[in-house]
């Protein structure tokens, strides 16, 4: 029953949580998983003034499984374009195979 899929990973500033989530939802992806992460990069700014306890919470990481690469790139482009000039962030994709996921459809359809 395994369905080949692409795993799209988006790491960016926590402050963009809602905006990125919305883009993913509108993109037609069947869902997403989001985690709080910390990290360091070229910019790594802490965009909130919140007294920052542990810096392991400054970023969010989205994982989106998409049936094909096109959808993944579409989402990536939208987010990259819109935010990554001004906000810290990174996007990459990996290969994956979905074993269970009722909301999920592989390229060859459900």
């Amino acid at each position: 029953m395994a369905k080949p899929a692409k795993k799209l990973v988006i790491i960016t500033e926590k402050i963009l949580l809602k905006k990125v989530a919305q883009i993913i939802e509108e993109s037609g992806a069947s869902g997403y998983t989001v985690l709080e992460t910390g990290g360091k990069g070229s910019r790594n700014v802490r965009s909130s003034g919140q007294p920052s306890v542990s810096d392991t919470k400054a970023n969010v990481k989205f994982e989106v499984l998409t049936p094909d690469r096109d959808l993944a790139e579409k989402i990536a482009d939208q987010i990259g374009m819109q935010f990554f000039l001004d906000f810290a962030g990174m996007i990459y994709i990996c290969d994956a195979e979905v074993l269970y996921g009722q909301s999920f459809c592989g390229p060859e359809g459900c």
Partner: protein
């Protein structure tokens, strides 16, 4: 002389007050590399309780006080919030190596209000038994929001003007962008050409800023909504029992913890400031006094015309001197994305707040007392 004398005495005394000593303590242990951590959940609930308490006080006061005497202070607050941004626009923004948007964001943050600084001022006024209008805390939003709105609007107007030149410049860059340099210093402004190219396209879309969303966002922020909730409950409900048994008695203790956090945070942010122009340091030290003095002056007008208490004048001066450290930054980050947060957050949290709490509060208190003496 006499003034300087007792002013200095006061100053030292106040540095020993729980509020300030915990602030200093926080900076010291952070400087000594302490691993002490106040969990974020605790910071959040403390901020909630402090601002709810201030709101409750204000609300219960407003319930039985004629609102006419609030008019002038409120007008002055709004004026100050707007003025402070323009001060930054024509001073800080003119300095070498200071980007205009960064300067505007900084001005917005210094125009906005720091809940913790205000709480500190109110506490110290109480400790000194100096009378002030119980609704003074309610001036917060009237200075906070105009400042943020002004900063974001002015910045975006400025940015839209820049669009054309930039786009052209980006054109030139494009050809270079294959070369390593593109990844270098400029990369924050001019990243990989394709992204740049597309981004420009989709950037030039939003032409003019809408004000209401910004106002709404600030009102919905955790700090302000806790305070407004408190005000509403103070006016319409009878929260006296919990106020007396919970919010009021715990206020000072919780504040002492928050001061500690502010101190630690200030120190940890100093690093970020090094990355930006020195002028931010100068601004962060001078601005709080300038803003405070203007406010103090306006406050005195209200004092002599509508009998605004001297304690109230101090509160007005302190919230003008204060710079937002919790609610402001996210609003600005969203409203002026291209501004560099290390610049404005660094300036506000690392220097602005300590200066406002540690120096401005005692200063304006001393000032008021000398006025009171006459």
């Amino acid at each position: 002389m006499d003034f300087l004398g007792n002013f200095f005495m006061d100053f030292v005394k106040q540095l020993q007050s729980p509020t300030l000593s915990f602030l200093i303590g926080g900076m010291v242990i952070a400087a000594l590399g302490s691993q002490l951590e106040i969990p974020e959940a605790i910071c959040k609930i403390i901020i909630f309780m402090l601002l709810t308490k201030i709101g409750l006080t204000g609300g219960m006061a407003i319930r039985n006080s004629n609102l006419t005497e609030m008019v002038l202070p409120v007008i002055f607050s709004v004026a100050l919030g707007i003025l402070i941004v323009f001060i930054a626009r024509y001073t800080l923004a003119r300095m070498p190596r200071v980007k205009v948007v960064d300067a505007l964001a900084t001005g917005g943050l210094f125009g906005a209000v720091s809940g913790s600084t205000m709480a500190a001022a109110l506490t110290i006024l109480e400790e000194q038994n100096i009378r002030f209008e119980a609704w003074a805390g309610a001036l917060y939003p009237f200075m906070d929001i105009p400042a943020l709105v002004t900063a974001i609007v002015v910045a975006n107007i400025y940015l839209n003007k820049q669009k054309l030149k930039e786009a052209a410049y980006a054109g030139e860059m494009e050809s270079l962008s294959k070369q390593p340099v593109a990844a270098g210093d400029y990369s924050e402004n001019y990243p990989r050409s394709r992204q740049e190219y597309l981004s420009k396209r989709n950037r030039s879309v939003n032409p003019r800023v809408k004000i209401w969303p910004i106002v709404k966002e600030s009102l919905q922020g955790p700090a302000l909504s806790a305070m407004l909730l408190g005000i509403a409950l103070g006016i319409f409900a009878r929260p006296d029992s919990v106020y007396k048994s919970f919010y009021d008695p715990l206020f000072r203790g919780l504040l002492s913890i928050l001061m500690l956090v502010m101190g630690m945070e200030a120190w940890s942010r100093l690093g970020e400031l090094r990355k930006v122009a020195q002028w931010y340091v100068v601004y962060s030290v001078v601005a709080p006094f300038v803003h405070g003095l203007i406010a103090f002056g306006l406050g005195l007008i209200a004092h002599y015309t509508t009998g605004f208490s001297l304690g109230g004048v101090v509160v007005l001066a302190v919230i003008a001197a204060s710079s937002s450290d919790i609610s402001g930054p996210p609003t600005l980050r969203a409203g002026i994305p291209s501004a560099n947060p290390s610049a404005y957050i660094g300036a506000s949290t690392a220097i602005g707040t300590p200066v406002a709490i540690g120096l401005c509060i005692p200063f304006f208190l001393g000032l008021a007392q000398t006025f009171g003496a006459h």
